[in-house]
Symmetry: D2
Subunit: 376 residues, 4 copies
């Protein structure tokens, strides 16, 4: 009962890893936005496995089909449904896990919660589910870019102990996409690739950190006290498979500083009366509301739970047993997580933009005529 | 428009730092729970400032008044409203900040969002608002303890670079409360107190980490894919003032491990057919659902934004100026954040317990008679 | 778990008839609206009992106290809490009903649902709860009047078989308030008063219909397919105590017509390109969205359940017994229901206005600059 | 932004009349329920047009495809997506209405709200959208029947002035399905059919009333004060195309009675301690909570807006013009509305059942062990 995200830009996903199809319904997208299936396909292709030896070799076409909400190439304001068929399902690969609980996977907890589960490929708990999020995120991306001028870029910031040096204020998606590991620091990228390849050969896996910046977010987005921008970003990103940590701005590193070191002085901005805080240790958010500086967050992903090394576990009856993964698996989810992290940040921003407009837009404040009149 | 938290155990807070009163409405609490104002007062006293030189010297009685939802000492199932009057408001202390934006505070962003704000003591953005959360958390604590057997304990795990050694599986609230800094490791506590006192004398401030464990959570709580238990814990804790980071289980440290090091092997539990994963690097959650192991999370708090050292900033017109805090302030919010972190964890757990019951309780699964009949 | 109404203009009420206080939290009200306690007092006075012999003689001061969300006389955008103390509670009047289920009251169903209840004055099920709705409605009224130009007027349209003749397109609140029965048709009003007085003397009660019009609603409000304007109006009005029926436009009478008689022809409006449908049998709503014509609804209220005539019933153990009401009661709730119906219609309209702005406001459609910039 | 219904049994629909497909996602369905596409097909067949001359001649196969949430024939607790392809779309029939606003249709209001619309067959505003509701309702029906023993039956209670005589306490679906007009009173049914046929020949249309009963609902369902059972039923039913009125129990007729005539005396029920109120003028609901008596509601539908008679209207530029419908249309929607009304009542009941379990189920009340343990 938790497959809906957002309040005004609302996203509802469905689908299991090896069921007939997965998909998403987006309710609340403003009308008049030009959207085609090819817009979604770009981000879906970035998420897709099988792009290099660094990732799982499952072949997915991930051809999105828009079933509603778009007429003559533009959104109509009604719910947009997108369906992606599962074409390369090989359920037989997963016979063993129907009876054995894979360590650090959700097999046991789904059984504990629901009394049963679809074991094929992890069912609903599979990262395959994130394809639906990416499709929705692609729509949010276009909306925010065209109507507000927001740009969201994520990258692999760390694999195991290998850290990248990246400037959030200027990094471009094209730099990120230059390497299969999706790290714009090419030295670090080379080391990351080697580390991932070594882990793959060893039948093991690696974790790390994905960073993400949103530039062009105007001041004022975020809904205190519970739906602060940081709070909803944290929720969005911790809802991703394998995510175990979240930071905004200087995050945990900032907790080592003194107030006099950490505080961002305000200074006059370029336009008359505007305000800047360019040191931006806050990560673009104060009091849960955007400051106008780039919004910056980081997500920690645990090492992939699926490994080829044999592990101890129990079966569904609770008897001790052993398990070693077969099938297609990512030795490191980080590169493929990049477009997924972007998608979640985009969904949060689209929702908060529209929520902000509802209460604090010019008409709500009484500085414009009712919109209903405007049309006539 | 973000002052409600939770879906089935729903909490709505209101109130500004120096307005007439603040409070909370809790909707969805099961009936028949014995609750008195004194139950709330215990946790409120722990949150209250002025308990030691480590904290702000504002004197707040924080006497909670229950206005509804309790009859003859027991909850009736209707909304429980709790109001706490603001008795020691000294708005004159805050005249200066009506015109100057305090660095790393929400003054600027509230103005940017709403066009105006209540500047007294930070208004709605003040940490005073968390008193309402603590009052609600006290009700959730009693509910979860009596009906499920859940125990939630938080503590100061790190101040600046001073780290405590604490065993989440056994730490008791009595150990936490033994020191004013609320750290159960007495060696670390002594060093933390000295560091906070030094910062206070220096007109500066410190940050750090609060850790929290929930023991007795049964397997099965959490609502994938968006309302995973970790996701809602992250949201709850990042909605706290000054929170900038969240981890569950091994968190960011775990991202440095290999899969073969990080995975928690399952083993048979003490009762026939039960399952345990005692290494619990997952922090009691897999796939967003509780495993039955202790739920363990950590929250990073930035150093207190208010410092007595002079800082550069701008006024409401965007002109450069300088500011040095007067009034009552905490050089380190961590000790007082302990009951607040507990409150948020308790609110998440209460909500997820009831959500789980709705879909997967014995009656929903068809293994019990309809509850309506049961009464007659 | 159902004490919150609305999605963007969100209202949460609390309080029992004879508890310490009742109240409401309004979250999502736009900032900058001038609001004082006296604004609320006007509508609360209209709702208050004891205004004439036609209504219950309970004396309630109903002095609303605003606890938050208003600074220097204007809303700040943060939650507005309003509390009304219960000053004339006489719980002893209600000893008998603690043990006996009053026919057509909620005593039995609250016991069946929650296992217990606050029996004093009906507890949460008392119509006293609607005072909180009226306080919130007064804020919505001011918001919609000043920012959009919407005017909402309700009146008693029928008592038992006595029907009024009223023109929804022009009726004014001042005409409604001219008679104690709140019927602007003075002939009908006189007959209604006589009928109510006769019922009162007879220890009996009467039902009827309240009608309500909203003028000035622009085209475009309403959120198909589930949150149609009519659907939310129906929910709002059926949530009132004693409400048993709802109609919009020609309602049930319209179901007797043929399509050729019922359809409203469109015609050119006064401004270039504008559209009117002045026959307005639709009641200002088509496809769940406002047309720009007056929104018109009617609510049927059953006769007051509390009567002085002796009635058969059972006690809490299910044994047959008899009951005759004592204490203060309305022989007809209709006159006091008028401001309550207005309040619910206002809450629906405020919510739908802001929801419409979120998705279809000028900025969401891309015809204006981001609001965040506008301020700087 | 209003295509989701329910809070715990949550239904999200999508799709336009002549788009590629329509469908629904059901989130929150308890696990372990046996569901097959054929279960949905039964009710979809009842809704389908072209069953007789009384209804539109559009041919729709309405073959539902379940994409997720069901594994080995049983629900898994994850979202259930159902898609129905649009196979007999004839958009060319609708060229004219792209430019002319059909009277009493939503063409104008969708344009006013969204700035554009999908004109083919009414787009999202078409009654075709209700197929998705019926598919969801079929799942709710099976859930409530098997787990609680609830039975929901609707029928045509009135067409224009022709009223049926039907006993809500005993009427069976088989009796309803016996006639094409879906009226279990065969005398009335014959007259209704004649009237509808006459209207069809005349190029005109008729309205009327559908009644619906839910038997087997235990006492205790409904969430005061806003989410009362009646309030949510009213919302659900007024969200249907062409619905203009709602009543529960004696409804508007009951408002003509005196309290002494309308009140339902309580009496001892068949089991020890149980309570009945068999006169049931309340329609099975008191104070917004079910009493255990049959829940009884009525919905008024206006005459079909689409008629072959020529009508005055305007085009999109606001110029006067004339319009006469071509294509396939129902002269009376009532017979096909029967399964749709049932679906909405079922969705409300499923949602309220689970909401009741969340707060007041045996475990929430503390009379059972935590469900998480139960499994292990």
């Amino acid at each position: 009962m938790g497959s809906t995200f957002g309040r005004t830009f609302r996203v509802t996903t469905f689908g299991e890893s090896h069921g007939p199809a997965l998909g998403v319904v987006i309710d609340g997208c403003p009308p008049g936005l030009a959207i085609a299936e090819t817009d979604l396909a770009v981000d879906l292709a970035r998420r897709r496995p099988g792009q290099s030896l660094l990732a799982s070799q499952r072949k997915e076409d991930d051809a999105p089909r828009i079933l509603s909400g778009v007429h003559e190439g533009k959104t109509t304001g009604t719910p947009i449904a997108v369906v992606i068929e599962n074409t390369d399902a090989r359920p037989q690969d997963y016979d063993e896990i129907a009876d054995k609980y894979r360590p650090s996977h959700a097999d046991f907890t789904y059984d504990a919660k629901y009394g049963a589960r679809d074991p094929r490929g992890g069912g609903r708990a599979s990262a395959r589910e994130t394809a639906a999020r990416v499709a929705a995120g692609a729509i949010a991306r276009k909306l925010l870019r065209e109507r507000v001028g927001v740009e969201v870029v994520a990258w692999v910031d760390r694999v195991a102990t290998i850290e990248a040096k990246v400037a959030p204020s200027s990094v471009q998606q094209s730099e990120v996409e230059r390497t299969p590991v999706r790290c714009p620091d090419s030295d670090a990228a080379r080391k990351m690739e080697a580390a991932i390849e070594a882990a793959r050969k060893d039948g093991d896996s690696l974790g790390g950190v994905v960073a993400c910046v949103a530039r062009g977010v105007p001041p004022g987005w975020g809904e205190p006290v519970f739906d602060k921008l940081e709070a909803d970003l944290a929720k969005a990103l911790l809802s991703l498979p394998a995510a175990k940590g979240f930071e905004s701005g200087d995050g945990f590193a900032g907790t080592l500083l003194k107030g006099s070191e950490h505080n961002d002085p305000f200074e006059p901005g370029p336009e008359k009366g505007s305000v800047r805080a360019p040191t931006n240790r806050a990560g673009g958010i104060l009091g849960g509301i955007s400051t106008g500086e780039p919004v910056f967050v980081r997500v920690g992903f645990k090492p992939t739970a699926t490994i080829r090394k044999p592990q101890k576990t129990v079966d569904r009856e609770g008897n001790p047993t052993e398990l070693a993964a077969k099938g297609r698996h990512d030795p490191c989810v980080l590169p493929r997580a990049v477009p997924i992290v972007e998608a979640m940040v985009l969904l949060v921003l689209a929702d908060h933009w529209l929520r902000h407009e509802a209460q604090c837009g010019p008409q709500a404040r009484g500085v414009a005529r009712p919109s209903g009149d405007a049309r006539l």
